[in-house]
Amino acid sequence: MHEWALADGVVSTALKVAENEKLKKITKIKVKIGELQQIDLDIFRHALEDVIRPQEGMLRDTQIEIGTEAAILRCRNCRREWRFADAMSRLDEDEAESIHFIPEIAHVYIRCPSCRSPDFEVIKGRGVWIDSIEGE
């Protein structure tokens, strides 16, 4: 996931919710990001500031809480579980960057450390989602 795309998405979703709920102001947005998304939080915060700027009224002084969840992978073949962070540390720069843009590309470059199968599932730490939006 790209930080700017995510920032765009968070603001668009928040504005849509505000319109549906007839809110005058959004006071807090809670965003949860799975580690698989490989989001650079500093770039994401910078992108959010930039995307929010034109929406000053609705999103002025909105508190944005960003939580992260570590990613755990599990092999469908031999059931071995392992940490995504460990797998990432063994990839080269291009492979890691490809996963940053499209996280599912992990299935192209990562293999089960026990049986080498590419058929694994992400049991924790995938996706991005808005936990809650508060407003008045």
Binding site: G9, I102, G127
Partner: protein, 247 residues
Amino acid sequence: MDPRLDVINKRIKDVKKLVAVSGGKGGIGKSSVASLLALILSKSGKRVGLLDLDFCGPSTHVILGIRNVYPKEERGICPPTAHGLKFMSIIFYAGDNPSPLRGIDLSNAIIELLAITRWGRLDFLIIDMPPGIGDATLDTIRFLERVEFIIVTTPSKVALETVKKVLQMQKELAVSTIGVIENMKTTDSSHVAEQVKAFDIPFLGSIHFDKDFENVLGDVDKLSKTQFAGDIKKIITNTPAFATEGV
């Protein structure tokens, strides 16, 4: 709430027409039709993008000989231009490696690619679909609200039977279908056209079996001079969805 979904329609808001090229089976020429449609529309002066959504068997880059171009990162991803087309494919991220993706992974990969790609202003975005009515097709219908389908078949009874299933599903989902193209035609039979008309779907035309097509894959100048390209040009001319008006 998944914030990625809201950004997808923003990414395609300046694309006038989204055309998904689909079909019931593999090997019937969907990717060739999608590639040549995109190429010929672009050569006629339209602003065209080509998106290869066949993640398990991407091939439009092979057909059009697209190499040594890469997306640029600028508040998202800007697709590179090749032969006048804006082009996006999973090959930029997976390289020549296989992409063993199950359903949920496939859906997530499609969402990510649609959410990050900034197409800008286009008259047409041609989408090369994987075969069948699986996740990619259902996701395309779900995420790209304005998408219209072109269905490719061959004269083979086997291909035609699966096309009937695709058409039936699209009718049930109220998906807009531009029409059906018959590829690899070898006789004068009008069987496919008649079968398609029974579904109340336009029959757009036939592409004759072109034995030289395989030999010129990857060379857009030679591809443009094939009978295949000539038949695609006729289909474009005779299909209102590709008329200059409205785009």
